[in-house]
């Protein structure tokens, strides 16, 4: 089980003192937050991609490479990489390069993006969001696995004899998650490839995501990648903590009330009841998230949103201390209890290399014993 944080990289005014970080300050804060994630024992730092203010993260691989250079164990990931408006060839190249630089500590989460104007800004049509996600990823999947690719599709120029460089580290592509809030097509796509499925789990009630994940698990099994409980599931989450829960409520309320997305809408009490947002003591966060496996089954990755809505860097770093020191160690123990041995761990480069080698051994043994079958 992997634990980490994901960020949308918003530059938001702190409602308690009306100060706004500069883009430069926010970018440096992202780096500090990434390094802190490793320091407090988290496994993953995932960064979003946006092409409009108030967000600063337009070039995640640049930022992630910079953090990779200053960390040792942290897995660098995205939340999400826009599979619709980016050229899949450039995604193949950027993430393979990052994978080499970070010695394999890289995976990637595909998302469509829901900011309408970004599509035309990149020459695309939002009404084609799903077909773009499907076709672009089909190409990306081949670019990482075939040395020379001939390809023709609807959305980009054809390729003849194209080789994407560098080749993935150890010829094992970065692990891919597909993120979706509501589209069964994307759950189907993740299941088809045997990739991971990530439910952001932040904005909607859990019942919705329970259905979506159950669907993905069922289709994962249908496509022959293993049993439904072996499908690779990631979940988002959101917490704000203080030793006394009333202090957490008091401290977080102005940020909640003014937050992008849900601010000025439901009360914090309603929203914490209806979604996984938990504002309270570390124990409350432990209880809430330890129960997630009861709803979604044993899963592989839990990411928390900790740094948005104008929270100052100092507060975010304090929150990460609490998360890493008090919450995640207990959650690791809770999630390990009665976890069936056949449920996979969270994906790492080392795991994927081992899987690939084990599969090759099995195949070689089969080929050697199969009578009358020529081995390649």
């Amino acid at each position: 089980m992997q634990f980490g944080i994901f960020t949308v990289s918003d530059v938001t005014t702190d409602p308690t003192n009306n100060t706004t970080p500069t883009e430069h300050e926010r970018i440096k804060a992202l780096v500090a937050i990434g390094k802190k994630a490793e320091e407090v024992g988290l496994d993953v730092f995932a960064l979003g991609e946006h092409h409009n203010p108030p967000f600063v993260s337009s070039s995640p691989t640049t930022t992630l490479a910079y953090i990779a250079a200053q960390t040792e164990k942290l897995i660098l990931s995205t939340s999400t990489t826009l599979i619709t408006t980016n050229d899949p060839v450039k995604i193949a190249e950027d993430f393979a390069m990052l994978q080499h630089l970070a010695d394999g500590r890289v995976d990637v989460m595909m998302g469509r993006g829901n900011t309408g104007p970004v599509y035309p800004w990149f020459g695309k049509d939002i009404r084609e969001g799903i077909p773009l996600a499907i076709e672009n990823y089909a190409l990306l999947h081949r670019l990482w696995r075939e040395d020379y690719v001939d390809w023709q599709g609807k959305f980009r120029a054809p390729l003849q004899g194209f080789q994407s460089t560098p080749r993935p580290l150890d010829d094992v592509p970065p692990f891919v998650w597909h993120g979706s809030i509501r589209s069964p097509e994307i759950a189907e796509q993740a299941a088809y490839y045997g990739d991971g499925f990530f439910a952001n789990n932040i904005f909607w009630p859990k019942e919705h995501y329970m259905q979506l994940i159950a669907y993905y698990r069922q289709r994962f099994e249908h496509y022959g990648h293993g049993s439904a409980d072996q499908a690779i599931v990631g979940l988002g989450g959101q917490a704000f903590m203080a030793k006394n829960s009333q202090d957490a409520v008091k401290q977080f309320r102005p940020y909640f009330d003014n937050a992008p997305v849900y601010g000025h809408g439901p009360t914090m009490e309603d929203f914490t009841e209806q979604t996984p947002l938990t504002v309270g003591s570390p124990q409350q966060v432990i209880d809430r998230y330890a129960a997630m496996r009861d709803y979604y089954g044993d899963y592989q990755r839990q990411l928390f949103l900790m740094d948005h809505a104008g929270l100052p860097l100092k507060t975010v770093l304090e929150q990460l201390d609490i998360l890493g020191e008090e919450v995640v160690p207990v959650l690791r123990k809770e999630f390990a209890k009665n976890r069936p041995a056949h449920v996979p761990d969270g994906p790492t480069h080392a795991n994927l290399v081992a899987q690939r080698d084990a599969a090759a051994l099995v195949k070689a043994a089969d080929d050697a014993t199969a009578p009358g079958v020529l081995t390649k």
Binding site: P131, I134, E135, A138, W151, Q152, G153, K154, P184, E185, A187, E188, Q189, A191, Y192, Y193, F203, W204, P205, H208, Q211, L212, Y215, V261, Y262, G263, H264, G265, P266, D270, F271, Q274
Partner: protein, 208 residues
């Protein structure tokens, strides 16, 4: 089988003449169905009671459990009676907000009776230039007779002839009842994970 009707009432005051009109229409539709030997159950959605939930949904993008239950009652009914006050030449903002949070496909082929209240008869055409196109856009089936009740209508008897309020209510109710009687909407199973026809997880190329 028992048919289900959902009534959307967007009146803001309590008591409201919008709800009064909604109740009269509901009774008339029930009567018309009963005359044809049909059982009917009615769910009344008072938008005033879920106004804050509707606003939260506009902001957060999801319906809380209370609102989700109301939406489900509307979208899985065999027929809808939609009644709004006319404000500033059109349906009320709350009424439109509720319609806005529905899945745009969810009212396809839904029999709908549209009705409205207002202070004077001057706004009666709002039903035909605002309400009717709204539901046409959503591919609902709107019955020909729309019922508008101005304040003065509540003071006329049936003696006003074919243009009296009771007469219009009866005519519209019969039109809706005829459609509700043949509707199978309330018994349909809706699969939220149904993939579009022809969908392939690898897209056009390589799907073979």
């Amino acid at each position: 089988m028992t048919r289900r009707i959902a009534v959307i009432s967007a009146g803001l005051s309590q008591p409201s003449s919008t709800r009064l009109l909604a109740d009269r229409l509901t009774q008339a539709v029930q009567q018309s169905l009963a005359d044809s030997g049909e059982d009917v159950t009615v769910d009344i959605i008072e938008l005033r009671e879920i106004a804050q939930d509707v606003t939260s949904n506009l902001i957060t993008g999801f319906a809380n459990p209370k609102l989700a239950a109301a939406i489900e009652k509307v979208t899985t009914a065999d027929g809808v009676i939609a009644v709004t006050p006319i404000f500033t030449t059109s349906y009320s903002g709350l009424f439109k907000s509720f319609i806005d949070i529905l899945d745009p496909q969810s009212l396809t082929d839904m029999p709908v009776l549209i009705a409205a209240t207002g202070g004077t008869e001057r706004h009666s055409l709002a039903l035909d230039y605002a309400m009717r196109p709204l539901f046409s856009y959503l591919h609902a089936v709107v019955v020909p007779t729309a019922v508008y009740a101005a304040s003065s209508d509540w003071g006329h008897g049936a003696d006003a002839g074919s243009s009296s309020l009771p007469d219009r209510i009866g005519r519209a109710a019969n039109e809706l009842a005829a459609l509700v009687m043949t509707s199978t909407r309330s018994t349909r199973v809706i699969d939220p994970f149904a993939l579009p026809a022809g969908f392939s997880p690898v897209g056009g190329y390589g799907a073979q």
